[in-house]
Symmetry: C2
Subunit: 405 residues, 2 copies
Amino acid sequence: MFRVNENYLKLPGSYLFSTIAKKVGAYAAAHPEESVIRLGIGDVTLPLPPAVITALHRAVDEMGAAETFRGYAPDLGYEFLRKAIAEHDFAERGCEISPDEIFVSDGAKSDSANIQEIFAADSRIAVCDPVYPVYVDSNVMAGRTGSFDADTRTWSDVIYMPCTAENGFVPAFPESRPDLIYLCFPNNPTGEALTKAQLQDWVDYANREGCVIIFDAAYEAYISRADIPHSIYECKGAQTCAIELRSFSKNAGFTGLRLGYAVVPKALRDRNGVSLHALWARRHGTKYNGAPYIVQRAGEAVYTPEGQEQVREMVGFYMKNAAYIRTGLKEAGYEVYGGVDSPYVWLKTPGRMTSWEFFDYLLEKVHVVGTPGSGFGPSGEHYFRLTAFGTWENTVCAVDRIRAL
Amino acid sequence: MFRVNENYLKLPGSYLFSTIAKKVGAYAAAHPEESVIRLGIGDVTLPLPPAVITALHRAVDEMGAAETFRGYAPDLGYEFLRKAIAEHDFAERGCEISPDEIFVSDGAKSDSANIQEIFAADSRIAVCDPVYPVYVDSNVMAGRTGSFDADTRTWSDVIYMPCTAENGFVPAFPESRPDLIYLCFPNNPTGEALTKAQLQDWVDYANREGCVIIFDAAYEAYISRADIPHSIYECKGAQTCAIELRSFSKNAGFTGLRLGYAVVPKALRDRNGVSLHALWARRHGTKYNGAPYIVQRAGEAVYTPEGQEQVREMVGFYMKNAAYIRTGLKEAGYEVYGGVDSPYVWLKTPGRMTSWEFFDYLLEKVHVVGTPGSGFGPSGEHYFRLTAFGTWENTVCAVDRIRAL
């Protein structure tokens, strides 16, 4: 009889956000009179910017007329979008990335899950701890991670790089050499960023050791400090060791529209000269059929002057929330991190509470929902994540409730 | 140093449609005075139906207002769409498929490429020959296909099931037992269909032998005869052995909008009771973030009374083309197949020309582009595919030119 991919069976059953949803659902059912404020999930709340809405309507009209209808898109993305990306996200920052090194996709989640496919089955991966679960889970499914230890909640064949207050949330180079290094900065969940000098150290390490860095820059729009790089290609030598993943979700509110892209430089080759660019192009051509035309036009609109202005306003709105959370919790005596170059605020739980104890405490006492840090990895224990993606009113109300505790 | 997935390097370099594009480009450049008619690629030419355009505009407006904005979609698809699918595509045909057995995706190409992931790495696959290349290529990338023989253009570990005029384009059961069987009916590229009794034989075989059938029903909207099943779930016992893939591309013109779905029945389990439904749900949740809200609303509109009427008109338009091609070529003395329950017409090349010889002959003599059958597999040699997706004028002109040869 047919058999399944047994790697899937190794995945621990319960997913962080579904556990949270269940707990919140049970609490809300038992206390219908309480107003629960959700600052847990990283979904946005502001509507799409007007420039994007206008572009969508225009593109929809094109799809309704025979002369302007568009069928299958180019596998790698429309030239108009790839050119806008190359110019605004890279050339303007002094990075030499050409349009044909950009692969348009339906989002950074898919790209970050699929990218491992083009590497050898026995590649060793290194991840920050805490970490966005998709990097590890997609490698579990591919059979790269060994066995799961239910006590430590770690995989035997994954290299974990702790990021805690003790090391300023900057990972140290691992003791044994990985093949693939997943770095997400500004970071989810800690909200902290790497300076250009710190990222340059990682690029130098990867080139020296023959590793590939998968650089997830989904939160780059939230960077406020000058010495934080928006792209890994601002570092020298990144073209020979790094793939960068970008998203339209958090800057322009595309979580429900789905658009992202990967940069795979042509200079990125293995020891035999095999081009990762060619492999990723082959994967796109075989397993994907391009992002919708109308959504690619929406993405293009983000790079117009009006689009850029509107995106800056959205980011500013969320960062005002982040500042309110940071300041309010600091004043209340919490140790608080992140929230300056990212929409996430990361705090130490008070009185050595575990992350889940603090989750229950906040839910029961002040009806505020956040995300337990331990859900992102063992080094996230005793930490807690709040997001800046709520409405202003809810954010203020949640912080004021926590302060009153 | 890091290493790549070497299975990718086994893939033969040149892809069918890019070879065609190169040949046509070279011809057109050398003969700018000739009007070339393309009946090769399976892309549609009619614009999206008005009901779909209206639904898109409405959904875009919702995304522009805070009260109606939608962020992350449910991983498996919005309930409104899954309900419409369950009712119209299944309940109305007497198939018991519940909304939560339906997984909405960005199209049947992605699904047909990704579905192999949930099966064991050493699963044996069987495909019809000729065949849509994605089924085989996605398994090559996963390392399941052994070595490639450049002479026969076949893989050592793939079971090929020839479909030719000799067996009426109905595959015979393979001599050795496969784990996964890819069946696409109505078929691409032959354009021929299986009767309900013939498909029932396959369902019985799969249940008896412990195989899973991946049933690609992308062309079901083109079925005109009463005894051709639209869904494999019209056959008894299919719920324990079959996954069905569906597309909105060819019925409603969504090639540039991207929407499809997979049906994975809850009764489909391996010998240890592992549910394929649970594995596919896990894959969706980990590696995918849902189809865009606006596109799912567009899909819903296809099932409204106006949408259904407009889709019937589109299909009727293309089938008028198919009938003209069939009749015209028959009258000209060609052996012609397909084009009754599908938008593809499959013809025997005259005078034992190879598929590529006939391609060059048509291009040079009458400037008509089709697809060489051998590009779909060795049993496609001496066959040729024409599609019904052109405009009426181009279709008539192409057929009349071939008749005049």
